[in-house]
């Protein structure tokens, strides 16, 4: 187990290869009943056509829609569209998947961020034989830009194709923005397993409720 204390011997990584080996051996195994996938595609932001960009989509999916889910969200008074949609999802009976994009946060974008997020959810649901209301959207990245909905939808077949049941590492890497490395922690407990991933390097003082 990785320790991080001034009082105990610390687990020190001396290279990225060593760190990834550690993640693969100790933390990346998915709990039973989940699939994870990711795909990257190029797009041209309409707000900055001179800056062709890459976006990564990450899909996290229980094998069957589940009643057992929860979430907390920022209390920032100018929340992104996925936050508004996500809060509504908490009252749904079941959750079927989580779709995450990096690069653009879909916050206060021209043209209707909520409808863009919903359109992406509907398209993901179509590929997974679910309802759009069973999809939780998440976005992170530039504030103020509009989600490139069509390129995202075009990338969904590749995303679904990438689903696998072994490792959460593609998701931990796929959600990164300015992060330098993926973050995964896990614990085996009560005959089962908990695995978590996170991203974030700046604009960090969460106050979620």
């Amino acid at each position: 187990r990785r320790s991080f204390s001034s009082k105990k011997p610390a687990f020190v990584f001396n290279s990225a290869a060593e760190y990834y080996k550690y993640l693969n051996e100790h933390h990346s195994r998915l709990p039973w009943g989940f699939s994870v996938g990711s795909t990257t595609f190029k797009f041209v932001p309409q707000e900055a056509p001179h800056l062709p960009s890459k976006m990564t989509l990450t899909l996290i999916k229980p094998h069957k829609p589940t009643l057992l889910f929860g979430a907390v969200f920022t209390q920032n008074a100018c929340p992104g569209a996925p936050i508004k949609v996500g809060r509504k999802r908490l009252s749904e009976d079941t959750l079927g998947a989580i779709i995450v994009n990096n690069k653009i946060s879909n916050v206060c974008a021209n043209g209707g961020g909520v409808s863009d997020a919903q359109e992406v959810c509907d398209a993901v649901a179509h590929h997974l034989d679910l309802r759009g209301s069973q999809i939780l959207p998440s976005s992170t990245g530039v504030i103020g830009w509009r989600l490139p909905v069509d390129p995202i939808i075009n990338a969904l077949p590749s995303l679904v194709e990438s689903l696998q049941d072994e490792s959460i590492l593609p998701a931990a890497s796929g959600i990164m923005t300015t992060d330098l490395y993926p973050k995964i922690r896990s614990v085996d407990v009560c005959g089962g397993r908990i695995v978590g991933i996170a991203k974030g390097a700046g604009m960090i003082e969460p106050n979620m409720a």
Binding site: R2, F4, S5, S6, A10, F11, A16, Y19, L30, P31, W32, G33, F34, E47, P62, H63, T66, F69, G70, A71, V72, T74, P82, I83, I98, V100, S105, V107, C108, S138, S139, T140, I143, G144, I168, A171, T178, L180, Y181, K183, R185, V187, V189, C190, G192, R193, I194, V195, G196, A198, K199, G200, A201, G202, M203, I204, E205, P206, N207, M208
Partner: protein
């Protein structure tokens, strides 16, 4: 922005899962700060695939495991904080309430002057007292905490009952403690730690405050404020 997703195969009931999540988030994700800025998009979701029956008598074990996962991820986030050379862990105890303990911890890790002192390995611990007093003056007027509190850094007592307990030797030890927790260009074979693609920091700057007012406690994580943080964010373009 902070995004996090927690997956489990244990069939923990929905309301229990949500209650536990709220409790653990308050002690972990809501108790860290890289740069004092709350994102418009912070999200943490927890999902169970409902595969393995869960015995409610094991709730405390599950809670402890969830805490371990979440607190570990928070450590990873602050270690990756933009421009971070030092990570700080502030433990506040002897508070009248958890909110007071956490508020003081946040006041310390969010103080620009204290963050800069840590960045420079400067034993300017007067800034620590300032950060405690600033919070108390705003939120608990009339409590003269300087008469009741003690402060330690790196296990060294530096303030107690209204007076600093510093001398040249203690200051040298404080500097040594901060340097031990610092990343530099010359450690680990001269690697540029600001762009390293694996976790740095195997040690933290440890600060402990005992307010001597009550029994509540909290732990908060933060980082120093460096030239690199300013460079990264001043040079950042959409």
């Amino acid at each position: 922005t902070m995004l996090s997703y927690i997956l489990t195969d244990l069939s923990v009931p929905r309301e229990t899962l949500r209650q536990l999540l709220a409790e653990v988030v308050e002690e972990t994700y809501n108790a860290m700060s890289v740069d004092t800025d709350e994102s418009t998009s912070d999200t943490l979701a927890i999902v169970s695939s409902d595969q393995i029956p869960f015995d409610m008598s094991q709730l405390e074990q599950f809670r402890a495991a969830l805490y371990e996962v979440c607190s570990g991820l928070c450590e990873d986030i602050v270690r990756n904080g933009e421009g971070a050379h030092h990570v700080m862990r502030v433990k506040v105890k002897g508070a009248e309430s958890h909110a007071q303990a956490k508020g003081i911890g946040k006041s310390i890790v969010n103080s620009p002057l204290l963050k800069c002192a840590v960045a420079g390995n400067d034993p300017n611990v007067g800034r620590l007292v300032m950060a405690v007093g600033k919070y108390m003056g705003k939120h608990h007027k009339g409590v003269n905490v300087s008469e009741t509190m003690t402060i330690s850094m790196g296990g060294l007592r530096i303030f107690e009952f209204g007076e600093f307990t510093l001398n040249g030797d203690v200051e040298k030890e404080l500097v040594a403690h901060m340097k031990k927790a610092q990343l530099t260009e010359t450690t680990r074979g001269g690697v540029d730690h600001t762009s390293r693609d694996y976790p740095p920091h195997d040690q933290m700057v440890e600060i402990e405050v005992d307010l001597g007012l009550g029994t509540a406690s909290a732990q908060v994580l933060g980082i120093d404020l460096t030239h690199e943080y300013v460079a990264i964010n001043a040079d950042y373009r959409s």
